[in-house]
Symmetry: C2
Subunit: 420 residues, 2 copies
Amino acid sequence: MTLTAAPATHVWTLEGGLTAAFERRKGPGFALDLRVPVGSAHDPVGLEGLAGVLEEWLYKGAGGRDARQFQDALDDLGVRRGGGVGPEATRFGVSGLTADLPAALALVADLLLRPALPSEELPILADLARQDLEGLEDSPPDLLATEARRLAFPRAPGSPFAGYAHPASGTPEGLARLDVGNLRGFLDRYGTRGSLLGLVADADPAEVRTLLERTFAGWGLGADETVPALFRPGLRAHVPYPEAEQTHLSLTAPGVSPRGPDWLAWQVALTALSGGSASRLFHAVREERGLAYSVMASSVLLGGQGFLTAYAGSTPERAPETLEVLLAELARLPQGLTGAEFGRARRGLTASVVFGAESLRARASGLTRDLAVFGHVRPVAQLRAQLAALTLEDVNAFLAGYHPAAQVTRVTLGPQELVG
Amino acid sequence: MTLTAAPATHVWTLEGGLTAAFERRKGPGFALDLRVPVGSAHDPVGLEGLAGVLEEWLYKGAGGRDARQFQDALDDLGVRRGGGVGPEATRFGVSGLTADLPAALALVADLLLRPALPSEELPILADLARQDLEGLEDSPPDLLATEARRLAFPRAPGSPFAGYAHPASGTPEGLARLDVGNLRGFLDRYGTRGSLLGLVADADPAEVRTLLERTFAGWGLGADETVPALFRPGLRAHVPYPEAEQTHLSLTAPGVSPRGPDWLAWQVALTALSGGSASRLFHAVREERGLAYSVMASSVLLGGQGFLTAYAGSTPERAPETLEVLLAELARLPQGLTGAEFGRARRGLTASVVFGAESLRARASGLTRDLAVFGHVRPVAQLRAQLAALTLEDVNAFLAGYHPAAQVTRVTLGPQELVG
């Protein structure tokens, strides 16, 4: 197998405090991902939707350009806008051709440092958020994901933050209370503290560093606060949805901390559980019994902790058996993987590490994700070596003490409640 | 701007008749896309769902392995399975680490040339397809897309093919009629005729060619028939969906042939219409009026022709205005683009050409798509040069004769019918 030379990754704390990771890569394009540690979980109680509307508002003109001029300037560069608001962070992504990197960076800095924030746009933005919430009502799987998050991660008593109990688009009540004052005030949270910039481009590192320092000079400090995720174990809830054809099931259980020693072992176990056509869930639920068309489990990170979530959509008649099979698969995890399962899961993870670093955009957001989640950039070659060093015994020693079924919280949505 | 050397693309007609395109690229991974020109449009009338169930059936064991052993063999290689059934073709995609390419190819060939086709799996597969259809009922945007396709592209009278009027999962009636006999008979359509293989890997071209010829030796001829797409212009239809929160709108109109001279001009025009935050639809529907959270237009290829489709989801109250704005934007296309719009759209397209070729998987399927749609592989550098040579005058000369609004077919889905 040919191994390409690992690209050097530079991680800098820029003058002004912003942390940046840069990876040089040959090719005509660049990709940038800027992660500000302010998300919908930081919405103040009663103002749910604030972070989401603020992000959209920033695009409504900046650096002396009005909304239309700013959008035209982005499109003039042919750059693609990415990112958006998640529970813990807001991401600004742009990608394009290398010659346009300085101009694209300048537009991102305008957006963050010199936004116009025109008040007349606010009613339209709140309206769009309301429409997004209405659209959610029309999609049972998305509605279930929202409800499961709300029930499994209730707001901490006394916390000023609304937390993980609402979608990024907010709530109708929260959106109704948004105004110029509370939005502008919230923008003070944005700043260099905890913000992370990932950049992949074919450019000289020293020049890139100078360019970044010049471009983001003058950005304030902001706030970097983690909203803890308080998991409520053992809950059973049903969301009535009489007109649904299917019953949708969601399970949430504790996982592993990304900064702890068991992270990779957990990832291998999750891959064996749900990572391919030979995975346990796919086989037991779909292939052997034909219970559900979609079934999956994955890890989710909230408040610095990892959680296991699983989903399946089934007919109302088969939903009880589907749930039973899902729970049984979680319950037998402590018995460990077979050697064959371990080998398959490790190979699958290794391939996904290689392919995940392949595209510029994915790599740029991988850089900021690594910094945010693990505190450092994980070079692809190092990650592959760690996976190669992992043994079946390591994974099974971890699994012997891992009992997600004991604490699982389950939420269903559909025409009738599940018995049992 | 740095331009990397264009990778050489080899296009071969292999012994046995299969057409293959190979692009050599440095790196540890490979990606393969095999496109067989048999899709859900080829389902015989009354057997809707046949192509979809057949594709799933192929994975139920091959080359002397049973279903479980075959899935384990795929996962043992750590390869990722991709592809699926579209209206016109069925695609088999695998990607993984280069050392595993011969073994992965052998598994794909087993699947196509030596499938086990165990009869006991059929009821489960038909059941999963039925569950997928039920899931469709729970997703108004997907249901609308299916209904719009059915209404805009009715089956040709007298055609043995069911055509474009049903989703790949079929219909309950069609699924009920599937049996071992008609599925095995349909598999005879699979073969080298019209099948296209795209491969990107770091390997010696001569060795790759030998490997492909050896691996696919003995594959039959099969059938390569295009199902014509008969567009029904000027239709207005409403699909009642009383419990939906939103009204969903779909427009379909004629477009341009991918092998004709106006293809790129049309693509630039579509990008100006819907390709970014400064695009006409995004601006008029979402930014200026806040009418809809999602609005988009794109090209779709059916039966060798291009069509324009547009979609928006709005509140029932605002749906009439949303429709009006969509139609007005289509109606003013013949007036042409401004110079600024043209420049933006061309830059956006150029960037998407560069980024679209970046990942191995995307490039492998790009190779087979190019062969299927354009009859030859379009090198990225050549496509960029063609875009650079295109002028505003070219695009506006094309647009002056392009009147999609005159023939538009519109389908809505929601709690109440639109008036007007």
